[in-house]
């Protein structure tokens, strides 16, 4: 019951926030100094032709009318037409979504599976050589520009050492598309070579993307574990002779993880933000690369579409994190 109230509560904010986001992007897109219609019409268009085009697109209607239609359109999945490709933006966006999702999930997986244990060990062996080394690495990890790290990785592993391909998601077409997630699809095809190829292409982008996220997770987990270790309940468990490994891996970890889970929203933000850059450098055919290409082509509608989609994804993730936190931390509702 408590959970249901919690979920309803959080969901109530979802719609207004998304609506607000759309208004925001609409406002931004109408601050354009240049005239997109003139651009679309081409260099040799006459004034009448431009005005006709403007009328056809409805750009001559009052702002609020345009806004209204824009919002309706988005809710129906219509983000307008790409000024460059003349295709529906929604098609472009959703065809590239799986690539970004795959990369993001692999990055999340890497960061948590590697980051959390490192954070625990760093805290338990506080001030040891390992701890200091890790702290230096994590602080550095948050100071490195993702695009620079990506280029350095490429320079070292792809160009100089030749261990991995330079960029892209696969050589050729990749596996036959079933889910759109190449890792799964290549397994479904039972083709070892294609699977290897997919993994090889994924290593560098995934590592680059997960680096700052991993650093953040190590830091937060370390802090959470330290807090827990210094708590009275750990002292009590120690005094009552509960085995040390049980104290750390069961009791301390659970408390520390509650704090870390709430940071997943933050981490997702990092992953989306850096995703744009990483995809651009590695030519990874996802939403981020699409956004970058749209920038270069001044495709305003496409940029707005990308902003809304990534914004909504981010909002949803935070919503889920919020709800999860409310469920796993019994103190929340009490």
């Amino acid at each position: 019951m408590r959970t249901i109230v919690l979920i309803v509560n959080r969901l109530a904010w979802f719609v207004p926030t998304v609506l607000g986001l759309m208004i925001l992007t609409f406002t931004i897109s109408h601050v354009i100094p240049a005239d997109p219609v003139a651009y679309m019409a081409g260099e040799n268009a006459t004034r009448e032709q431009i005005e006709a085009l403007r009328h056809e697109f409805g750009f001559d209607r009052p702002m609020y009318v345009q806004l209204y239609h824009y919002i309706i359109g988005v809710f129906q999945g219509d983000f307008g037409i790409s000024l460059y490709t003349q295709r529906p933006i929604s098609d472009d966006l959703f065809s590239r979504l799986p690539a970004t999702m795959e990369l993001t999930f692999v990055a999340v997986f890497l960061s948590t599976v590697i980051g959390i244990p490192l954070g625990v060990i760093s805290a338990v062996y506080r001030n040891s050589l390992l701890d200091h080394t890790l702290r230096i690495i994590t602080v550095s990890g948050l100071a490195i520009a993702s695009f620079w790290l990506a280029i350095l990785f490429q320079l070292l592993f792809a160009m100089k050492l030749g261990w991995t391909p330079l960029q892209g998601r696969a050589d050729g077409w990749g596996p036959d598309v079933v889910t759109g997630i190449f890792l799964i699809d290549s397994v479904l095809m039972w083709d070892w070579e294609i699977f290897q190829d997919v993994v090889a292409h994924m290593i560098l982008p995934a590592l680059t993307l997960s680096f700052p996220a991993m650093a953040t997770i190590v830091r937060f987990t370390r802090a959470g574990v330290l807090d827990a270790i210094n708590s009275n309940y750990v002292l009590y468990e120690q005094a009552m002779g509960v085995p040390r490994r049980v104290i750390i891996w069961k009791y301390v970890l659970r408390n520390a993880l509650i704090g870390t889970v709430t940071q997943i929203g933050l981490i997702f933000g990092i992953l989306i933000a850096n995703g744009v850059i990483v995809e651009a450098v590695f030519d990874w055919p996802g939403l981020g690369l699409y956004a970058v290409k749209s920038i270069l082509q001044s495709d305003y509608n496409a940029i707005m579409g990308f902003t809304i989609v990534s914004g909504v994804i981010f909002i949803i993730v935070n919503l889920l994190v919020d709800i999860t936190h409310g469920i796993i931390d019994p103190r929340e509702a009490g």
Binding site: V31, A145, A291
Partner: protein, 285 residues
């Protein structure tokens, strides 16, 4: 003056914070003294195609770029751009966001709710995504980068100050002063502001680092000051097609960004340990 001296003494004793402070000082010195420190100051505008893509040497510490310009000198001038963007963008967002947060925190009416809703919407999207949208519509220039960064950063401060104000306002001594008839202005500036100032200072320092990274990313994507600007992100983007041979071309500006951001992060961490020792001491001791 007392507190300043105390602060300096504490900073000196915390090694990592001292390193951070030194790096920042270095950055400021370089930015100011760029014309003097640069070996080829004219290379910010001029180019010498015959000397392009040479490796590091005595004449060119970090080699030359695709136009034959001295990378070292351009890097030094790029420091000016970096500082300008960081200071102005963060400064504006703080100057806008903090008062908004204070006011929203003090009054409990529809205005403060509305302000926080608007902030939430901005914060619902990762900063760089919105900044890209704004910078792209306005066109590539240093002013537009600053504008895009400020416009997407102020809500963070508004939210932070709002939350801190709320808890500060719950303190008994604040309640007392309100009961004694202190005006809202007085309460906000004299009571609430000093209490939240340490949190703001710490976040500002760390925020500088993050802003520089975002600004460099915008420059890398081509949304920053256009050619021939020596902006660091742009330089890295330019270097890509000449890799792996011209490795110095990408390494130098990247290293510069790294050192500067590290400096701010270390300093910020150190400040946090000093100014907020009661809060989360275990975080980074």
């Amino acid at each position: 003056m007392e507190t300043a001296r105390f602060l300096l003494r504490k900073l000196a004793s915390d090694r990592t914070a001292a390193v951070g402070a030194l790096l920042i000082l270095l950055l400021i010195v370089i930015a100011i003294a760029a014309p003097v420190l640069a070996t080829h100051p004219e290379d910010v505008f001029e180019f010498h195609p015959s000397e392009r893509l040479q490796g590091p040497s005595a004449a060119h510490f970090f080699g030359t770029d695709r136009m034959g310009s001295d990378i070292y000198s351009r890097l030094l001038f790029g420091a000016r751009i970096t500082i300008a963007i960081a200071v102005i963008a963060v400064g504006v967002s703080v100057l806008v966001g903090v008062p908004i947060g204070l006011v929203a925190g003090y009054y409990r009416n529809w205005v403060s709710d509305a302000l926080m809703r608007v902030s939430d919407i901005f914060l619902a999207v990762p900063q760089i995504v919105l900044a890209i949208a704004i910078a792209q519509t306005l066109g590539p220039s240093i002013e537009n980068v600053i504008l895009a960064l400020s416009a997407t950063y102020w809500p963070f401060w508004a939210r932070l100050v709002y939350a801190e104000s709320r808890s500060a306002l719950n303190e008994t001594y604040v309640e007392a002063s309100i009961a004694l008839g202190a005006s809202p202005w007085r309460v906000m500036v004299l009571h609430v502001l000093p209490n939240i100032s340490s949190a703001v200072i710490v976040r500002t320092t760390i925020g500088m680092g993050g802003t520089i990274l975002t600004a460099a990313a915008l420059g890398f994507l081509g949304l920053g000051p256009p050619a021939p600007s020596p902006e660091w992100g742009r330089t890295i983007a330019e270097s890509r097609e000449f890799l792996p041979e011209a490795w110095w071309y990408a390494t130098a500006p990247g290293l510069a960004i790294f050192l500067v951001v590290m400096g701010f992060n270390l300093l910020g961490d150190g400040l946090r340990d000093i100014l907020d020792p009661r809060i989360r001491r275990s975080r980074d001791d």
